[in-house]
Point group: C2
């Protein structure tokens, strides 16, 4: 993927991997260590590298001393390597500026602000006639379909769509179609998000230097859903080895993200839904209906990421960590693939096999979509 | 993984993906196009983007014209992006020089040429006592094992190994142990390769500029297997968009590799094995035994990669392409992970979960290893 940052790796904690190893083959070593009066913490730390740790402990002291020297050299390596990644980030900032005029022109064409000249529409490396021929073929096929209606099922989606106004401006639904084509985005998009995402006019990337990172800007046309014109998601990355475990460093890591407040117009917030609960009175047996608001599935939850709790070792923290890891991957993907290759995701040329498979499935799953209001029966007794 | 090059992607050819799409959902479109007199080649090319191509063909001509303009902008983007990757490669060359003194010192310590000073063995970010405690624990556990022999199984691998000579030089079997720990390398290593890989003293990376790429150098101690002191594997990468399909460019791709000749000593070539075939005479019924040499599984086949056949569309070519793709991944992995993080792969700290799981499995599969001589019965009748 030609990518330089790693999108949020989840490092298994030492204790966790230790417990795993215990099952695989560390059991006996654990017993040895228990007998020898080593504390449980020492033991878990020791087992975490399983057979390796034991093998190294069994080496003569002078060999273990040399391994320590190599680890110190590795520390020096990692310090130099982190400078490499800083330089790569500086290069990325430099190139983002070079890409900007192209992306700005793209946005102007997509939104009908600029009409490209004939010269700007020549693709020397692909036969244009091919494309026109396909267009004619599809058109004449559509006409044939209409003629022998009795042979064709009535719900043929491909030809049932109304023809698009030939005087249309720009490229309608450009970003919305990208959301439909890319499985990762399509999975996040709910039916009630679709009309909003049809108003998405551009996605821009702004790089930052300190801390290194980037902001994704989602630019919207004025719409009936919210008053914002831009929604933002900011990612910060760490490019230095951690003081506690410097040798774990493997390149820049996204370590935090920040959303933005969406100023929803009255009754238009798709990220909440109303649940009706029926409550039965304990003694009287009468039933009352209570409505309450809960979070609803929506792409727009992307702008309200969870925050890490105080205690990083709680169960809640590991759940949130998993959510943030997925969030980081999405942000990284949008920056690396979606923004830089938008037209290819729109035409389908730049889709992974995975994306294309998903396309079909997603179409099906739409019909099962819930209506946004749930009936939950929760009688007390 | 903080990597900038992509190790050999296998791009599905247009025709192949077209046929796949036909199954998924392009069947009807194919029929339409057949009816409309479009040739099969046009059709396959058209279907290759499945629903997307049809949807785009159905757009008004002025919208399709604007999409062409975006594709031309994308071409400009890709040209700039390829310069970015060239600059990243130049950075990698620069940093390789900065890493060199560290790697050279590592090799000197590993091979007992240089003994580190006390100062060079201090790891401020990790408790040394912990390590010593573990060592003592393992030692006393081993002694306990010996004392109550009747309670322990006799074939306890962990304690059965003879204690290592405390006057040993350097770090014995450093690279060999990395091969054992890293699943990708361990899978390539055969039992007959092991004594040879115990002579491996260093793996170095040399970067090149034109064409951009790198050479892996495997440095060996004088040994009884071959006369080479260095075995090399050279990878060349392409960092420019392809003229025929420029929009497919996604960063540097390894596109060719070159091995080296190994000067095996007599009877020591582990990459060939002798097969005995029994042949029965058609009419007389007498049986004779024929011996012939065939390629044997060995890590050292890595230095003799297959070459692409003339016709890149043949079945053979796609098989070889798959082999080369795997080979590219290995070369890339050795450069990115093994050379730069050797000590962490030796101690087990830098292993992926995958590597650790694999470790156990590999140990088992060794016992099934064939002896290098097969009995094949191939009677004619």
């Amino acid at each position: 993927m030609g990518t330089v940052e790693r999108a949020g790796d989840d490092h298994t904690s030492e204790v966790e991997s230790g417990e795993e190893e215990e099952i695989v083959g560390g059991g006996e070593l654990a017993q040895h260590l228990m007998k020898s009066g080593v504390t449980r913490t020492d033991m878990l730390a020791a087992i975490s590298n399983s057979i390796h740790a034991e093998a190294i402990a069994a080496l003569p002291p002078n060999v273990r001393r040399r391994i320590r020297a190599l680890r110190l050299l590795q520390r020096e390596f990692v310090d130099i390597e982190s400078k490499f990644y800083s330089e790569v980030h500086a290069l990325e900032c430099k190139y983002e500026k070079l890409y900007k005029p192209l992306f700005d022109k793209r946005a102007q064409i997509v939104n009908g602000i600029y009409e490209p000249t004939d010269e700007e529409c020549v693709n020397p490396w692909r036969d244009e006639n091919e494309e026109d021929e396909l267009a004619r073929a599809v058109q004449s096929a559509a006409i044939t379909d209409g003629a022998d209606d009795n042979n064709k099922p009535a719900d043929d989606n491909n030809t049932a769509e109304p023809p698009m106004d030939p005087n249309v401006k720009g490229i309608p639904d450009f970003w919305y179609n990208i959301f439909r084509n890319v499985s990762m985005l399509c999975e996040m998009m709910q039916e009630h998000d679709e009309p909003i995402l049809k108003c998405l006019q551009d996605i821009k990337v702004q790089m930052h230097d300190e801390p290194i990172g980037f902001t994704l800007e989602f630019h919207f046309a004025p719409n009936e859903y919210f008053t914002n014109t831009v929604l933002t998601k900011e990612y910060s990355m760490k490019c230095k080895p951690d003081d506690d475990s410097p040798l774990d460093f493997e390149g820049p890591e996204i370590y935090s993200c920040k959303g933005c407040e969406i100023n929803w117009k009255k009754g238009k917030n798709v990220t909440v839904k109303t649940i009706k609960k029926k409550q039965k009175h304990k003694s009287r047996g009468s039933v009352r209906t209570v409505t309450k608001s809960v979070q609803a599935d929506s792409f727009f939850n992307f702008f309200n990421p969870p925050t890490m709790p105080e205690d990083p070792n709680s169960t809640l923290a590991s759940d949130i960590q998993a959510l943030l890891t997925a969030d980081f991957e999405i942000g990284h993907y949008i920056r690396e693939r979606v923004v830089s290759r938008a037209v290819l995701l729109y035409t389908g040329e730049g889709l992974d096999d995975d994306d294309d498979d998903e396309y079909e499935e997603e179409e099906d799953s739409y019909s099962d979509e819930d209506s946004g209001t749930e009936e939950v029966s929760d009688a007390e007794d």
